[in-house]
C-alpha cells in the first residue's frame, strides 16, 4: 500500500487525502519535509522557527486542501510556506515591508538572520555538501531566497517571479548572482563539482560508445 502511494503524483496524494486517506498526506509530508524544512531553516536561521512555520504550512494544507487549484503542488506548498514566513517576519517588524525597495531602508528580508556559517551542522553530509550549505548561508537574503526556492522548492523561474512579485528577469538575475557568488565562495570545491560532472558525462559517453560498438 505504501509502495502504491509512493507511485502517486503529488496532486493525486492530495486528492486521496481529501477523500479521507491520512497516509496519503503522510507520504506528501515525507516527500517535502527535508527540502521545505531546509528552506525554512535557511531563511529563518532557527530550527524552532522552521518547525513552527513548517507545521503551520501543513496545517493550512490539512485545513484547506481544496484551495489547491491544480498546477504544481510544490509551487502551491512553497507559496503557503513563504506567505507564512513573511507574515511571521512582518509581525516581528510590522512597519517595514519584506520586499521594500527603498534604498534608505534595508528590506525586511535582509534583516533575517543568516543561518550562520553552519546552517545544517546537525546533518551528516559530505564535506562538499557542508561547504555548499555554508556558502548558501552567507548569500544575501534575496538571492538566498530565490536560490533555495529554485533548488529546494523546484519552482520554475516564472513561479518564483510570481511568488516574489518581481519581473522574471529579476528572478533570473538574483539566481545568476547567487550562483556567481557561490562559485567564488566555493572556489576549489566548485571545480571539484565541475570535474566530477565532466567525468560522469565522459563515463556515460564511454558507455554509450561501448554499447554502440557492440
Amino acid at each position: 500500500m505504501r509502495e502504491s502511494r509512493g507511485n502517486l503524483k503529488d496532486d493525486e496524494l492530495l486528492n486521496a487525502f481529501r477523500h479521507g486517506d491520512v497516509q496519503a498526506l503522510d507520504e506528501l509530508v515525507a516527500r517535502y519535509q527535508s527540502s521545505l524544512h531546509g528552506y525554512l531553516r535557511a531563511m529563518t536561521g532557527s530550527s524552532a522557527d522552521a518547525d513552527d512555520v513548517f507545521q503551520e504550512t501543513w496545517m493550512r494544507v490539512i485545513r484547506n486542501p481544496g484551495s489547491f487549484r491544480g498546477g504544481a503542488f510544490n509551487a502551491w506548498l512553497w507559496r503557503i510556506a513563504r506567505n507564512l514566513l513573511v507574515d511571521r517576519l512582518r509581525r516581528r517588524k510590522p512597519v517595514v515591508s519584506l520586499d521594500d525597495a527603498d534604498p534608505d531602508h534595508a528590506s525586511l528580508i535582509e534583516t533575517i538572520p543568516a543561518a550562520g556559517h553552519q546552517p545544517c551542522e546537525e546533518v551528516e553530509e559530505t564535506e562538499i555538501a557542508r561547504r555548499v550549505a555554508a556558502a548558501v548561508a552567507v548569500l544575501p537574503p534575496d538571492q538566498r531566497d530565490v536560490f533555495l526556492l529554485r533548488m529546494q522548492g523546484g519552482l520554475s523561474f516564472s513561479e518564483i517571479a510570481a511568488l516574489r512579485r518581481v519581473p522574471l528577469n529579476t528572478a533570473l538575475g538574483r539566481m545568476h548572482y547567487a550562483i556567481q557568488r557561490l562559485r567564488r565562495e566555493l572556489g576549489s570545491v566548485y571545480e571539484v563539482l565541475v570535474n566530477g560532472a565532466r567525468n560522469t558525462e565522459q563515463g556515460l559517453k564511454g558507455k554509450r560508445t561501448d554499447h554502440e560498438i557492440r
Partner: protein
C-alpha cells in the same frame, strides 16, 4: 542583436548548467528534518480533519436508527389501539348475541369487516344457517354499519334503514 527574451533564455540555460552541478550538494547540505513532535502534530491534525467525515456516516446511521425506532414505536402504538378498538367491538357483538332475547342491541362494525360479517355472526350464534340480508350498497359503503339484533335466532338489518 538579441532580444530581452533571448537574453533571458540564454541566462536561464547558463543557470541550469550550474544548478545541475550544485543540486545534489544543496539538497544534501541544506536539507533538514522537522522535529518528531512536529510530524506527530501534523499526523494528528490530519487524522482529526478526516474524522468528521467518518463521523458523518455514524451520524447518518444514528439518525436512520432513531427514525426506524420512532416508526416502529408508532406502528406498535397504532396497532395496539386498533386491536383494542377491534376487541371492544368484538366484545360488543358477543354481548349482543348473548343478550338477544328480543331486545334490540346495536353494534358498530368497522367498514373493513363488513364482508366478514355473515360468517362471523354465524360463528357467534352457533348456528349452521342464518339469513342476513346485507344489501350490496351496505357492503360497498365505506361507512360503519349499525346492526340491530331483534330476536334470539334471527339477525336482521333494520328495515327502516337498509330495507
Amino acid at each position: 542583436m538579441r532580444s530581452g527574451s533571448d537574453n533571458d533564455m540564454a541566462l536561464q540555460k547558463e543557470i541550469e548548467q550550474s544548478e545541475r552541478l550544485l543540486r545534489g550538494a544543496v539538497l544534501t547540505g541544506c536539507g533538514s528534518m522537522p522535529s518528531p513532535h512536529v510530524r506527530e502534530a501534523i499526523r494528528l491534525a490530519a487524522s482529526r480533519r478526516v474524522q468528521p467525515q467518518h463521523m458523518l456516516f455514524f451520524r447518518i446511521g444514528y439518525a436512520a436508527a432513531a427514525m426506524l425506532l420512532v416508526t416502529l414505536t408508532g406502528w406498535l402504538v397504532l396497532t395496539g389501539l386498533r386491536t383494542y378498538t377491534h376487541n371492544s367491538q368484538a366484545q360488543l357483538l358477543d354481548d349482543a348475541i348473548s343478550l338477544c332475547s328480543g331486545d334490540s342491541v346495536s353494534a358498530v362494525v368497522p367498514s373493513d369487516e363488513k364482508t366478514d360479517l355473515p360468517s362471523r355472526l354465524l360463528k357467534l350464534q352457533g348456528m349452521d344457517q342464518i339469513a342476513i340480508p346485507i344489501p350490496e350498497e351496505v357492503e360497498e359503503s365505506q361507512e360503519p354499519i349499525s346492526i340491530d339484533f331483534q330476536s334470539g335466532n334471527r339477525l336482521a338489518l333494520p328495515a327502516q334503514k337498509y330495507g
